[in-house]
Symmetry: C2
Subunit: 248 residues, 2 copies
């Protein structure tokens, strides 16, 4: 029979944040191509006889070329296997999920998509930071600051507006540039942030501060990847609303 | 023993998009206070002897005052019950989850938060629209257009920027205003949109068009609530990448 691919969002690491559909897809897969950041607890839900292939593409580490991922998807699907392409978070938020589907469609491979809990939602929930709030933020924006390129193409004037929440998916390395540009475009230095390291995991740490202190606070606490930055008036609520792990 | 509240995101309606943690919370709850939009398939996962209380607050229908929700949460938690506050989508995205936690914290009630698949993630996955894409969109922004007030306080200059995706949580009524203001602030009339009605449900419908045609296309197809608008260059990909339900 014809093989197929299910593009699955694995969420932020905690297997409890997988969806029921994602669990079912993992249970049924013959082959699982997974990002490096997908945790062992999630991979443990695969069938014992499933083939697990790491195709990790994470900041800093050497990445598997996107072309190789495409080739593997095609090879296993054409061999009639049920393939799961398992991505950290949600497959359509900073995940190249779109490019993989374009490739599969062009090659006539059937697919489905299972959304996942993206890092911003997980970190917000576990840090006690509502991303929107009637009194503080009418909208939330997800941006990435992984590299100089992505920083240069962003509309900083728009990002610096008040009463919105920014969820920044990042290498910690981008924090200095982020602070400089937001301040230069008028965001107040007193704007609160919550920097969430290992969000939703047992090792979660939340560091609070203000935009003006951003890289210093992160450096002092030696915050490491994976980390998500929540910047905006709502971030201050973490001080009162935190409930998981150590207080910030 | 002391009662507690778990603030749970129910996702967009399909029980398969619940997280494993949400399922566990539903299985354990004595009392479930749920939004009206939470589907029957999700509520069916509650214990048979659980008390289900609808506290629906959805556009158009008469809403249960937020104060009454607070009072019910407090009453049942103080009676020692395990309470689930079940919200459509994610509790921290346009859900007043923050306000409910502030109230619980002020009253000394213990709580946890379980994130959920918010409508933008679900609709994007099921319509085949990557929210971000290397070639088309570096960021995605969630906004709401439920009422005149929320439309007036948005930063339209920022919303009208290119190469970002807008996911608009809305009453369909806001479409005309949305078009006018985005065009007035320079977004191209040819910007593609995908309007997703009943996203991820069996009755899902996806209507495609361009910003300039927005309310007309929606009117022609009689699109109803719940609907989510995805506006931006990525929306055009739905034509090629759709996989669920009827083609757009």
């Amino acid at each position: 029979s014809a093989g197929s691919v299910v593009l699955v969002g694995a969420g932020p690491g905690d297997p409890g944040l997988l969806t029921l559909k994602a669990l079912r897809a993992l249970n049924e897969a013959d082959v699982i191509l997974h990002d490096r950041l997908v945790g062992p607890g999630v991979l443990a839900l695969a069938r014992r006889d499933a083939t697990l292939i790491e195709v990790g593409k994470t900041g800093g580490a050497r990445s598997t070329a996107q072309e190789r991922i495409h080739a593997l998807l095609l090879e296993h699907a054409r061999a009639g296997r049920r393939v799961v392409r398992l991505k950290g978070g949600d497959p359509f938020v900073f995940g190249r999920g779109g490019e993989e589907l374009e490739f599969l469609r062009a090659n006539g491979v059937a697919y489905e998509v299972v959304p996942g809990i993206t890092a911003a939602l997980a970190c917000a929930a576990y840090a006690g930071v509502p991303l929107t709030h009637r009194d503080h933020a009418q909208s939330v924006r997800f941006v990435t600051a992984h590299c100089r390129d992505s920083l240069d193409t962003l509309d900083w004037h728009a990002l610096a507006q008040e009463r919105q929440t920014l969820a920044v998916y990042m290498g910690v390395a981008g924090l200095e540039t982020l602070r400089e540009r937001l301040l230069a475009h008028g965001r107040a230095a007193a704007t609160p942030f919550a920097l969430v390291e290992n969000g939703s995991r047992e090792s979660q740490r939340v560091v609070l501060g203000t935009l003006g202190q951003l890289p210093d606070v992160a450096n002092t606490h030696k915050v490491c990847t994976p980390a998500l930055l929540i910047l905006g008036e709502v971030a201050a609520l973490a001080g009162a609303l935190h409930w998981y792990g150590a207080p910030p």
